[in-house]
Each structure stands twice: as structure tokens, then as C-alpha cells.
Amino acid sequence: MLKNIDLDVYESDVLVLCGPSGAGKSTLLRCINMLEHYHEGTIEVLGKDIKSSRANLSYVRKNSGMVFQHFNLFPHISVMDNVALAPIHVKKMPKDQAYEKAKSLLDQVGLSAKYDAYPGQLSGGQKQRVAIARALAMDPKLMLFDEPTSALDPEMIKEVLDVMIKLALGGMTMIIVSHEMGFAREVANKVGFLDDGKIIELTPKNEFFTNPRSERTKEFLSKIL
């Protein structure tokens, strides 16, 4: 499905991938931590070839965070446990330390009042903010966002984007599949345009919006802006 992908992302880059649905944006993103298997080529993340060994893949997964379109919170445990789970069981962090960390992360995403709530009791925007906190709990060097606002009510998009903007300004390396062009304009430093499994255009943000190189990109932008 993906063809001739050649993509470099550097530290503190904020790359927004856009394009029509079915273009392969999500597939590309999911290949980065191998939720999706790929047949040819190599993907190196944080200096490790993820396909060469299980240890490499596990290293990459432990050091990258992912946020999903449908949140994928664990519904049977509290919000706090959702955030503290991976530090406790993957990093073997002492429990009280993990819960302290979970609290401070939930404070950061504006959910101080929801420590003991269950995911089912939260709104979509709140769920997605918990999901971001959960990913951040592993101190990731890289954050992957797979259409983080597509399943949200319009009025909840901003609260999630605000959290993401804060992260980007804090220097986090981020790869984001999104249709939020306003967000891309504000915080991305690179924008990639995919169609039919190919990267049609990958340019610094300003150039992407003001002077797209390919006709296909122009056409896409004219439709959505």
C-alpha cells in the first residue's frame, strides 16, 4: 500500500501528515512502532532498526508514545491507573512514584479533578487528554498521533489541540496524522502530503501552505482551506 516512502524526522520536529483518506497516512504512522507490519525497506527509530530484533522494537515502543483516534483507554481501570500502568509494569517504577507522576501529568492536561474517574465517565476530549497523559507517562522521546481529534465533537477539539501545542512548544518530537490545518499552521515545522501510498510533498510548513510544489497538493489545499 505504501510506496517509495523516504522520510526523515529529526529531534523536535513537528511533522503533520495530511492527505485524502485511504492515502496511507495512518498506515505509515503505525509502521513506526510496528502496529502495522511492512514488507520491504527499513524503518529506523531513535537509532534502532525496528525490524531487526524484538529488543529494538521493544525499545522503540517503550520510548515512544502513541495517541489513537478512538482513545483506546483501558475502560476497566481508573484514569490514574491508565496513566500509571505502563510506568509500573514496563519501567518497573515504584508504585507511589508512578502515581505521583500520573497525578502531575493529569494536572498538566487539565484533569486534576478526574484522578479516580473511569474512562466511561469522561467526555471525548477528556478521554483524549488522558490518552496523551498515558503516553507521556513513559517519558517518550517521540509522540505519534493518529487523527487525535477526528472522533471528537467540534467543541472538544480545542482542548486536545491546546495540550498538543504545549507539547510541541516544549520541544517534543511529534508525528501527527491530522486534518487540522489550523493546527498544522500553528505548530508544525514540516507538513507532508500523502496520496495513494506516496509522499507527494514534504516541505517546511510555510512553503507547504504558500507555495506547494505539486498540482495534487494545490488541489487538496484548495478544497480544504
Binding site: N33, L35, S58, R61, K62, S64, G65, M66, F68, H70, F71, N72, L73, F74, P75, H76, L85, A86, H89, V90, A131, R134, A135, M138, L144
Partner: protein, 229 residues
């Protein structure tokens, strides 16, 4: 009509036998749960190497009578050198039998899980085993508790077959007392009430756990556990 003297005389024996029935059922239930969980997980895997033996096991168990399985374990296996007491034979046969049915329930629960749950777990760096133990199985068991309880109630009724191996459980004891007293009405009536009592307790339990959202409206639903496997 009812001989109260006979009942009061033999009631302690019946309760002792009830305890034996519950012991057989509980032990088999625990083993069946373990077998069913492991086999259920294996049956969701993609490898043919895993699925084929599991398919043979569940298919074979479900298409042969439990009574024959019981006879086979107790009287057939000694030829291979495996000697078992009748209690051990009963536990093995009931565990294997119930395990096959439970594996189907577990498999159903597993396949109904949203893929996003295991994806999120993997993305966080959890191992396969951690994902199962911490994320998937707790949710699956919560979901399948009503059918599991109903499977367990079948198991309790099935333990009456252990009477053929001379295990002093409820049915065997009833037959013994009936032969001794020539009072079959009381002798089989009391165990019937006892089986029914256990069933009722389990049905109520299943109803309380599984029917919170949707209260039972009819006796049929109530006695039928609401959810048939």
C-alpha cells in the same frame, strides 16, 4: 405422605453428599477454567499448528457423551499404565469436558474485544503476557461472567454422573438411601431440591452480575439465565 422421620434421619447424609458434590464441582470448575482460558487463548491464534489440536480437543469433547468420557478415563486409561482413583478420574473427565465448553466462551469473549486495547498496550511497551493479564483478560472475564456461571451450573448437574464411579456424591447417596429405605420419593426428592437450590443461587448470582443494565422481565429469562451459551 412424606416420611419426616426418614428425612430427618438421613438429612445429615444428604448434606455430606452435597458437600462432596460441591467439592467435585468446585475442583473441576477451577481446572476447567484454567484449561478453558488457555485453550480459548490458543484458539484465537493464527497459527494452524495451534488451532488444529485445539479444534480436535473441543470438537471431540463436545461430540461425545460425558458418561462415555468418564468411563474412558476411569476404565480405559489404566491400559496405558495410568491408574486413577475414581475421584481423580471424575475430576479429570469433568475438567476436560467443561474446559472445552469454557474455551468456546473465552474465545468468544476474546474475539469480541476491541483491537484498540491490545494496540494501545503494545504501543506502551507491554509484553504479550502483560497485555493479556492486565488489559485483555480482566475485561473478557467481566464480560463472560454470566455464561461462565451458567456453564458452572451445568457442571454441577453433570457431576451426578460421578455416581457411576461410586463417588459418594448426592446422586450416588440418593440411590444408596433409596435402596436401603425403599423410599424413592424422599430419597431422590431431597437431592432434587438441593440441586435446584444451587442452581437458583447461581442463577440469581448470574442475574445480579449480568442483568444490571437490563432487568429480567420474565421467569423464562430468569431461569434461563438470560444468556444461553
Amino acid at each position: 405422605m412424606l416420611d419426616m422421620r426418614m428425612i430427618s434421619q438421613y438429612l445429615p447424609d444428604f448434606f455430606e453428599a452435597l458437600f462432596e458434590t460441591l467439592k467435585v464441582a468446585a475442583l473441576s470448575g477451577v481446572f476447567a477454567l484454567i484449561i478453558g482460558t488457555v485453550v480459548g487463548i490458543i484458539s484465537t491464534m493464527k497459527s494452524k499448528l495451534a488451532i488444529i489440536p485445539v479444534g480436535i480437543y473441543t470438537g471431540f469433547i463436545r461430540s461425545t457423551p460425558l458418561l462415555v468420557q468418564l468411563y474412558f478415563v476411569h476404565y480405559g486409561l489404566p491400559i496405558t499404565g495410568i491408574m486413577l482413583t475414581s475421584f481423580q478420574s471424575a475430576i479429570i473427565a469433568f475438567s476436560l469436558n467443561s474446559g472445552a465448553y469454557i474455551s468456546e466462551i473465552v474465545r468468544g469473549g476474546l474475539t469480541s474485544m476491541d483491537k484498540g486495547q491490545s494496540e494501545a498496550s503494545r504501543a506502551l511497551g507491554l509484553s504479550w503476557f502483560q497485555t493479556m493479564r492486565l488489559i485483555i483478560l480482566p475485561q473478557v472475564f467481566k464480560k463472560i461472567l454470566p455464561p461462565l456461571i451458567s456453564q458452572f451450573s451445568y457442571l454441577i448437574k453433570d457431576t451426578s454422573l460421578a455416581a457411576v464411579l461410586v463417588i459418594p456424591e448426592l446422586t450416588y447417596t440418593a440411590r444408596k438411601i433409596a435402596a436401603r429405605t425403599y423410599m424413592p420419593f424422599e430419597s431422590f426428592g431431597i437431592p432434587m431440591l438441593m440441586y435446584f437450590g444451587i442452581y437458583l443461587i447461581l442463577a440469581l448470582l448470574s442475574h445480579l452480575i449480568g442483568g444490571k443494565k437490563e432487568p429480567a422481565r420474565s421467569a423464562r429469562r430468569w431461569f434461563g439465565f438470560g444468556k444461553v451459551v
